[in-house]
Amino acid sequence: METESYHLAIVEALLIASELPVTQERIDDTIGEEFRINLPELVEKLNQIYTESRRSFFIMEVAGGYQIVTRKSYEELVRRYLNRSGRMRLSNAALEALAIIAYRQPIARPDIDQIRGVNSDGVLSTLLEKELIMVAGRADSPGRPLLYKTSQEFLRYFGLNSTADLPRLKELEEMLAQKPQTIQEAEKENASE
């Protein structure tokens, strides 16, 4: 019995600290020499304990493993807490278009479409609506399409003083170039220094 409660505690600790679902296989591989445990059995016991003690979470079986999740009745509150209320959220498409406008402004819609390889009509109207971009006149090219640039609101939202403060592409490249190794390798290096 004493052993079982220790096993329960270990499984619980793994469930709390592991980002990936906890699996029997991995337990056997890493700590199995000391702990021959039956994960499904222990999970069931833990779930029993959680229900009895009215914990607001339980252990769910997901693709090939187990993980702790909150109970459905708290879903709405958790969602509201995690989605910072009132802050705007942009789709990937909108972010793409915004990035293109930020670095290439002023730029006309056909040019944005060409870079993105997709029509940007809807996205541009969203950005205009949120006042992240604004019209900056017309291009001289055929059809004289509208030109867009980023707005004051854009700068405020991203905490910039001017568009000159945008991270320079070169700086980003430098940042990326400085990563010849994976993070794990870098950590190893740091640890051994």
Partner: protein, 240 residues
């Protein structure tokens, strides 16, 4: 040479000078500049011989030291320094050393805090299966294409270079086959992380095609991409 042991320990020239000062119990306000310069130069030689790291910063400090040494050797100046009629040429260096020393000590304090914190593993949330339909927190904030590319680049770096060059493999992967490949992962679950997709891919070029396939799927509105931060893995989610 007793420096050998310490070669990798010194963070830079200031660190090395502090080491000399501590080892010889030197009064930091009265550094015997000739002796220290001599030792510093010896160390510099070792660095250069072994080509251990860029010696530029050490060379710069060596020239500063030699300059100070030269000034202190001029008898007239030496008298003036002693009588405090002109400023000691060592002052600027001493202040730099003191400032560096202060931060070095603070970094030891941080190391102690780090050590205290290491035994506790914080709660980790698996964004791939948050379950209960809880959306990821703020995932899309401040995410740009560059973030996605950065994640891609990182995954790419994990895969070794394609075989040797005399062995030209025909690339079997196309955007179409890799789109199917991604879709196969949606049978069990509507979300899959890029790193998970990449696990079964052994060749860089196939990974590249897979990445292009994903971008193509995004463009077609078949999937959405979410990412929590720069260099993080990203999650491909099927659009129903």
């Amino acid at each position: 040479m007793d420096y050998k042991v310490h070669l990798n320990v010194f963070e830079g020239p200031l660190d090395l000078l502090l080491y000399f000062i501590k080892r010889d119990e030197i009064n930091i306000y009265d550094i015997p500049i000739a002796r220290i310069t001599q030792e510093f130069l010896e160390y510099l030689e070792v660095i250069q011989t072994l080509n251990l790291r860029s010696a530029g910063e050490f060379i710069e400090m060596a020239s500063t030291l030699m300059q100070i040494k030269a000034q202190m050797l001029i008898p007239r100046l030496a008298d003036a320094i002693a009588n405090q009629t002109i400023e000691d040429p060592r002052t600027a260096l001493v202040e730099r050393l003191l400032e560096y020393k202060k931060f070095k000590e603070l970094s030891y304090d941080l190391a102690v805090l780090e050590e205290q914190q290491l035994p506790y593993f914080p709660r980790k949330v698996n964004s791939e299966y948050l379950g209960q339909a809880i959306p990821l927190n703020d995932v899309l904030q401040n995410v740009t294409l560059i973030h996605i590319l950065a994640a891609f680049k990182r995954v790419l770096e994990r895969i070794p270079e394609t075989p040797s060059f005399h062995q030209v493999n025909e690339i079997s992967a196309t955007i179409a086959t890799q789109t199917d490949f991604v879709y196969r992962h949606f049978i069990k679950c509507t979300k899959v992380s890029f790193s998970r997709l990449a696990e079964s891919i052994k060749e860089r070029i196939v990974l590249v095609v897979t990445f292009l396939a994903i971008l193509d799927m995004v463009r077609r509105g078949q999937v959405k991409i979410r990412q929590s931060d720069l260099f993080e893995d990203f999650i491909i989610e099927k659009v129903e």
